[in-house]
Symmetry: C2
Subunit: 359 residues, 2 copies
Amino acid sequence: MVTVDLNKLPNAEKIEKESRFLRAARREPVDAVPVWLMRQAGRYMAEYRELRKTYDILDIIKTPELAREVTMQPINAFDLDAAIIFADILPPLEGMGLQLEFVKGEGPVIHNPVRTASDVEKLVVPPAEEALWFTLDAIKLTREALDEREVPLIGFSGAPFTLASYAVEGGSSKNKVNLKSMMYSDKDAWHKLMSKLAQIAGDYLLAQAKAGAQCLQLFDSWVGELNPVDYRQYVQPYSKQALDIAKDAGVPLIHFGTNTNGMLTDIRDAGGDVIGVDWRIEIDKATEILGDNVAVQGNLDPVALHAPWNELEVRAKDVLDRMNGRDGFIFNLGHGILPTTPVENVKKLVDFVHEYSSK
Amino acid sequence: MVTVDLNKLPNAEKIEKESRFLRAARREPVDAVPVWLMRQAGRYMAEYRELRKTYDILDIIKTPELAREVTMQPINAFDLDAAIIFADILPPLEGMGLQLEFVKGEGPVIHNPVRTASDVEKLVVPPAEEALWFTLDAIKLTREALDEREVPLIGFSGAPFTLASYAVEGGSSKNKVNLKSMMYSDKDAWHKLMSKLAQIAGDYLLAQAKAGAQCLQLFDSWVGELNPVDYRQYVQPYSKQALDIAKDAGVPLIHFGTNTNGMLTDIRDAGGDVIGVDWRIEIDKATEILGDNVAVQGNLDPVALHAPWNELEVRAKDVLDRMNGRDGFIFNLGHGILPTTPVENVKKLVDFVHEYSSK
């Protein structure tokens, strides 16, 4: 158990008040557009690949000192406006009784997927402090490390639907037939499962804020596989439940999904101070649909980071021009950064966002 | 070379005038909403699986009598309002010089993918009559078989971007890094490639109409991976070129994509009398965005066919209610039917669409 007195961190109040990232999330004016990148700590960085020679993903996530080290790698390398704790959306499922493994070349596998009402019944809902103490400790340690850099820290959780997708499918899945079949044919099991996952996600987010996270992001990466009518009936209440629990923390909440451009208002209505937008829509158009009461985050195509700088610049500029000086905008990718991304483009992009938007 | 005198088919004129499907595509009033299903001939049908014990996919596609047999399987089993010629979007790439193989469990593989300007240079653009004679012959034979059933036949082609995706990536690809990298970094090669593919797709569509197809669909299945700005600059002109060539046939054109809900007007502006809509948006909302000058096709979630009938019915009814009696609507799925689909649900769905909408 790590003990860090967050109240004694010298820059805590200053960060809270002055961080571009937190200000933008609250729709306050900023001197330059803040930028961070989903999965900014990861395989595209040599420092991370080096560490992975010794440790596997779960080792790093479950060892607070290692999680802090990896979280800091992109902060040390680039002028990012926020750090995000190095973790994964799946460990909360382990605490519920599911056997998780990251299989090389295949991705995450759940060895005992949830398929029946009785499987749902068996899932336990432990407090985050018990099941996910390692990430909470990692947050405390990282807050300490970030304080002198005056960079705020983001905590996160998978959203109930995205967690359910892994829990029921047993891994990544293109069409999500098992998942949707449970939703269609066993409503009782579905609602119990989603209710448990909402509790897990909300509690985990809240615990991360208590541990020191200054902003929280709910990742609903796969929600865009639903039609909006099913979303509103079977999913939105649970995303709302998770976000409502997290709201008690009093920190800004980011609500992120992909392939959601036909249901942006439904995503917004589930909650969140900031809505994540993917690259499949012009960000000004998405902002118009979302309205004035939320901030937006996005929306560069992650693949654009593979372009020669002049082409990447054109695309970054396009995003910035579309949001031209609007308060409540956080520059990010539309989804996680890819392992094949050239590091030098990340550096140039981060600097460009600041320079261009502070003119 | 099959010789069928299409002008002598007794019901040709009647179909042209009275087919619900063709009428809806032209935004004329219909007695009931027409329905067909993308990939309606395929693995979910026992008849198809039986044939596949003896023949592989390319055998069937390249043997006009077998392609006709498979095309007719769903027409024999269900009360569908249109047939679609059994083919695949990839054989046109073979004619251009690419080595195509369907690898079991992996899907299509191109053994010599297009990666450089010199690879693009080498691609040939043969006339469809020479490179794709088998599908044109299959169309003639199938038109004969369909005439007495009074069912019209759809021909199709992959759109330039979707063809380019396979040609450059060498198979299915999640992030399309190679494809987009060519677009970003070698514009000259990109435009030459897309120009060749537009010519191939347009010419192929036109040839299918000449062979007897009474409607043509351009499949841009992967176009939704682009941001709209890149789409307009690098892709839309070529989709438009292909559709413009096909327009000479004088038959209705369907323009289909998925994950396009942030760029529906851009898809529409490339051309097509009917725009395909996936399930990630309410179809009335998509219709409103698309405006009054096009028909729409869609948009049931293909996974919904795995639901118990009462739940499937709710979702089919929702789509029909949203389009409540509007002319210019073709009921379909939002993407291809899945191999795991229960056949009895397909039968019930097709009948339900007719019964419910003719009330």
